[in-house]
Amino acid sequence: MKRVGIICAVALVTLFSVGPFVWIVGASLKTPATITARPPTIVPDFATTFYETAFGEHNILRYALNSAIVAGTTTLITIVLAALAAYPLARLRLRRRGVILGIVLGASMFPQIAIVGGVYRMLSHWGLLNTYPGLILPYTALALPLAIWILTVFFRALPRELEEAAIVDGCGPVATLRRVFIPLAAPGIFTAAILVFIQSWNEFFFALLITTDPSVQTLPVGIAKFPGQYMVPWGELAAAAVVATVPLVIVVLVLQRRITSGLTAGAVKG
């Protein structure tokens, strides 16, 4: 009974999440003639016309590569900085811990539209427009609050005994962080990593204003350039959606194996 219930739940959840995406994959495999047919056809023609246009004329691979570089670097830097910051916030008795956490949270609450102007001016001043760091630095700043909060919450939840054992062994804070916390808080760390990666991969407005050189533009901006002045290429956009999503799915498949119960994994080693 329980098995049937779980299978039903899995089916529903999968249908909900993947249903619209399957429709889009289908749309990407139609032809220009059938994609705007009234009423819509259910079975696609399995044509690759739209993909050919997306890769050829629209150069989607270059944009995907740029996104990968920007998002990957952002994630790496963010997780490192956030882990370094979360340990003192979670464990060391710092007097202004609450204030710092509040400021970090407050930073993430401000509408991003309003800070684009200030960020743009700074990047322009430092000559970082149309460069990778010009995107990586703001994206890191935007992702840090979420990452710091997730990691702080997860570090706090870990039992003190293992940490105390490490301190007795002579580890300073950074070593404790490295040897005890990171393995145990792996679910939190990889969760944060996935979310930061996706957030940076999908960010649009900052990228639109900061990168106008096609060799540096990221995928969302590249996709925004698909439509012509009056024409909306539904098919190519569908193909772009598939191309934009597949790498993320791969990243998730790889990282999600690490979201396992941390206590059993780490305690024996330490």
Partner: protein, 429 residues
């Protein structure tokens, strides 16, 4: 305490981390440095454009320019073709007096804003009246602000009426001259055809800039002015759209259509009449409607007041450019007769220069341009104001709310819009 001995160990780990983190940043910044403004001796002119529909045309054009002007290199910054997004990214640069922009494309509705803000350089001495006379008067008027001219027209655009020649011939109709006549023709044809999938009219009534264009055409045809929404002419025109078009001959979906969706309906045989820009002509030729599509001037309410919204793009020179002379040479080249002919023949773009409408090559590739010459000559611009974006938002909200709800109180909504318009204009005076 072992702290004394432990700290060096942990600090070195942190140092190591920081180095690991900084290296990619350094590498990335070194490899992607933006170019300076001189490049192997040539002056670099940066032009902000949109992604073209025909990239190879631009490559051809730029190649020709480089051959004729070996001392200049054009570097393009390419944004989306979406007018709003391009406006966002261009104004961001100009607000910050970015010296890396030398020339840019402007939509017809931006020139007043860019001129008043001091972002577009005046071009009077470079673009004398004799030269201006070679372009459509409407295009030039859109670029004249006060006493100066701030843009050079690149192409032009205006609203036209498409119709199904097969259906009109079958019922013995000529293209309608007035909007009520169009509605009558639709009623007759729909009664005769008995096809539930056929509707009467397809246009762009989504809440976006195109709505202002469509409604400008209705309001202007009744002698009204969009900036005076409380006047009877405007109210009558809006009521007509609400009752006879949206709730009448057009499917309700037009309230969500931009050009693409409205054309899809017409090109798949779903509408008898269709309002769109000239580009749709070439698209229709490749669909099931090939050979069945006619093009005509838009209908009117009052005689002789048929109104077509003016569109099109123009080039401007940045007031902050460090190479205004070179930038001007680029602009002059791209708007020259040769270039406008190239884009017309191979790209289907309607040139802004009058003489090209007698050119055999241009008309050979675009036969419908002959009929459209008069329409382009008399196209009506949208209100020219430095705060046009704000006025457009006010009008869009008013117009969409007015036509979407069959029970809307149009005079009240119009009055609200009029007050908002006056307040906005007062703020910059």
């Amino acid at each position: 305490m072992t702290n004394g001995r432990k700290i060096p160990q942990t600090i070195s780990f942190t140092c190591y981390l920081r180095i690991v983190v900084c290296l990619p940043l350094l590498a990335a910044s070194v490899s992607s440095c933006g170019g300076g403004s001189t490049d192997d001796g040539r002056t670099v002119v940066r032009v902000v454009t949109w992604k073209p529909d025909y990239p190879h045309l631009w490559d051809t054009a730029l190649a020709r320019f480089h051959r004729a002007n070996p001392d200049i290199r054009i570097a393009r910054e390419i944004g989306p073709q979406n007018s709003t997004q391009l406006h966002d990214l261009l104004t961001q640069k100009l607000r910050n007096r970015d010296v890396s922009v030398d020339a840019f494309l402007m939509d017809v509705i931006w020139t007043a804003e860019f001129a008043r803000a001091g972002w577009a350089a005046p071009l009077d001495d470079r673009f004398p009246p004799e030269e201006r006379a070679q372009f459509f008067a409407g295009c030039i008027a859109a670029d004249v602000v006060g006493d100066g001219i701030y843009g050079v027209p690149f192409n032009t655009d205006s609203g036209v009426l498409y119709y199904r020649t097969d259906l009109l011939d079958k019922y013995g109709f000529a293209p309608p001259r007035t909007w009520p006549e169009l509605v009558d023709q639709v009623d007759s044809i729909l009664a005769g055809e008995d096809d539930p999938r056929l509707s009467g009219y397809s246009g762009q009534f989504r809440q976006y800039e195109g709505l202002v264009c469509n409604m400008l055409e209705f309001v202007g045809a009744n002698g009204g002015d969009l900036l005076a929404p409380s006047t009877p002419e405007v109210i009558a025109a809006v009521e007509f759209v609400r009752d006879r078009i949206i709730a009448g001959v057009a499917p309700r979906g037009v309230l969500t259509y931009q050009e693409q969706e409205s054309l899809d309906l017409f090109a798949s045989g779903g509408a008898i009449f269709h309002r769109n820009w000239p580009y749709a002509w070439a698209v229709c030729r490749e669909t099931a409607m090939a050979g069945k599509v006619g093009i005509a001037r838009l209908p009117t309410f009052k005689p002789g007041m048929s109104t077509a919204a003016l569109g099109g793009w123009r080039f401007g020179v940045s007031a902050f450019s460090q190479h205004p002379d070179e930038a001007w040479r680029v602009v002059a080249f791209l708007t020259s007769p040769e270039m406008q002919e190239l884009f017309a023949v191979e790209g289907g773009k309607a040139p802004a220069r009058r003489a090209l409408y007698q050119d055999a090559d241009v008309l050979g590739a675009n036969p419908h341009f002959a009929a459209l010459y008069d329409v382009f000559e008399t196209a009506t611009p949208r209100p020219r104001s430095p705060i046009y974006p704000e006025l457009s938002h006010i009008l869009q909200r008013f117009l969409h709310a007015a036509i979407a709800d069959t029970l809307s109180e149009i005079p009240a909504l119009a009055h609200q819009a009029a007050v908002a318009i006056q307040t906005a204009q007062a703020r910059i005076d």
